[in-house]
Symmetry: C2
Subunit: 309 residues, 2 copies
């Protein structure tokens, strides 16, 4: 079978590049936020964070064999007229490329940046991390433990609870079988809440926040598929002098990328910080994995391996 | 009639002070937050921000004739064992004492501190100020105009709308007769929202916020008398990278008091910053004024003058 790109055959050796590059897609990251990118089937919209290798280049300064990371079309091969939006990356030999869309990539950087920029964490404080077994939440747990905090973490299966305990959570529970408010009433009040959920979880966190608590809004998966769950306790923001910060990693990345590479990635490579991956092979599996991520049935950072090098 | 304190007669010349002071209450401030202090009638709970003059003192360093400001019992005279919780204040001769519980007091300082600490205002940005005719909101309008912002402001009567225009609001409207969402859709998006209301107003502000907007939670009068109105748009905190800050003026006062006195109060005394007062005479009127403040029927900062000097 000849190589194809988006249903069309491509001649890898001779396809004209017009001064651009030919990229072979290796890894695609599957993330909750991709829900917002879905369009009607007739619109060719799918793209996402991924890693590819340059097979051929007509662009000065870009060499064949280099690896690039960024938003890639969901295809096997891409002819790109320029790669200024992509980042040329190198790999720690102790890590697979797949880690570079997960713990050593955007999710890890999201955790690192959000925590550094907005947590104002102090030793002995209490942090609650929702979706604590996810690719972001699991990194936040380990960052919080590194800073000497008591960590409460929740996820939606007993297997995930076990993982959260392994990576250091002091209190880990399955929110489907344990009452969140009871846990927070007993283990709080919260100085920091890392919110990946929104809705009732945010409401409970507001209720059990300490004065001066920081709430980091990293996502609200509970609202992605509806108009947004109402939150009743916003009046407490004033009364408790809370600070709530929304952020997107790309905005703050320039400020933190060097520190992330120097301080965080080596901890992943050495095994000090633990992470899990849920790897699926084949571009045709993207739809299934995307649904699994929305349902939370994946275990570990969801990655599709499109091809080996 | 002999002077009384809390229904009991007091001998102003001879009542024993036991090393403390005798204070004559001059001014009591009536503020929305006092709703939270109301208790059952049999509990002697009423107290509030006010100004008094020291009639006699047995405390070293405290002279008769000095004026003090702070939380005072709602009485005509107070014998206090110590006044460390009160602040000795002086008056700009161009201002009445009543100003020192309003524009030159806690409400003014609330506006000054909240704006300085949390607005991150930049010239040309758009700010929306709810309860813009109130003692805090009217000061925020003038601070925002001083910083070169476009100011949208709302209040609940046409008279208040007129006042907000007089003090510089570019867009002023009566929220009871004009649709907030229509105004914000036309005049926004918002870079700063000063929230004194909460509930649906906060929801609308979230909807019409620009990316990176700052929301300053100064109070949520809509929720004081119920369990809190639900807010649907908290998911936008993440998507728009919003920052929401609750604060109480007393926490930040030490950081800003000197600047407030040096930079803000002189603008009130010179007339550059305008303010209005709604003065009622007599301690027995406290209940009526408190209700008026909750209903918003007062015009200008509500003050009860208990006595002249």
């Amino acid at each position: 079978m000849a190589p194809v790109t988006n249903g069309r055959t491509i001649d890898l050796q001779n396809a004209p590049l017009h001064g651009g590059v030919l990229i072979k897609v290796l890894i695609l990251s599957m993330d909750p936020y991709m829900r917002g990118r879905l369009r009607a089937p007739e619109i060719e919209s799918l793209e996402g964070y991924g890693i590819g290798v340059i097979l051929r280049s007509e662009t000065a300064g870009v060499e064949a064999g280099a690896h690039v990371r960024g938003i890639l079309a969901h295809k096997e091969y891409i002819i790109a007229s320029d790669i200024t939006a992509l980042e040329v990356i190198e790999r720690d030999p102790r890590l697979h490329w797949s880690a570079y869309v997960g713990a050593a990539g955007m999710p890890g950087e999201t955790a690192f940046i959000g925590w550094r920029e907005h947590s104002d964490a102090k030793k002995g404080e209490v942090a609650y991390i929702s979706t604590g077994a996810g690719p972001v939440g699991s990194m936040v747990i380990q960052l919080a433990k590194q800073d000497g905090l008591k960590v409460i973490a929740s996820a939606g299966s007993d297997e995930k609870v076990k993982f959260m305990k392994e990576i250091g959570a002091d209190v880990a529970f399955n929110y489907k079988t344990t009452d969140l408010r009871e846990v927070l009433a007993k283990e709080g009040p919260l100085d920091i809440f890392w919110d990946n959920v929104g809705g009732e979880t945010l409401d409970a966190a507001l209720e059990f926040s300490a004065n001066y608590a920081r709430i980091i809004e990293c996502g609200q998966i509970s609202g992605y598929n509806n108009a947004g769950q109402p939150v009743k306790n916003t009046g407490l923001i004033f009364a408790k002098r809370l600070h709530i910060h929304g952020f997107l990693v790309l905005d703050l990345s320039p400020k933190y990328t060097a520190a992330f590479r120097a301080e965080f990635v080596p901890k992943l490579a050495s095994g000090e910080f633990k992470f899990t991956e849920d790897v699926t092979r084949g571009l045709d599996k993207v739809g299934d994995v995307m649904v699994a991520v929305q349902k939370g049935t994946n275990t570990g950072k969801a990655v599709v391996v499109v091809a080996d090098e």
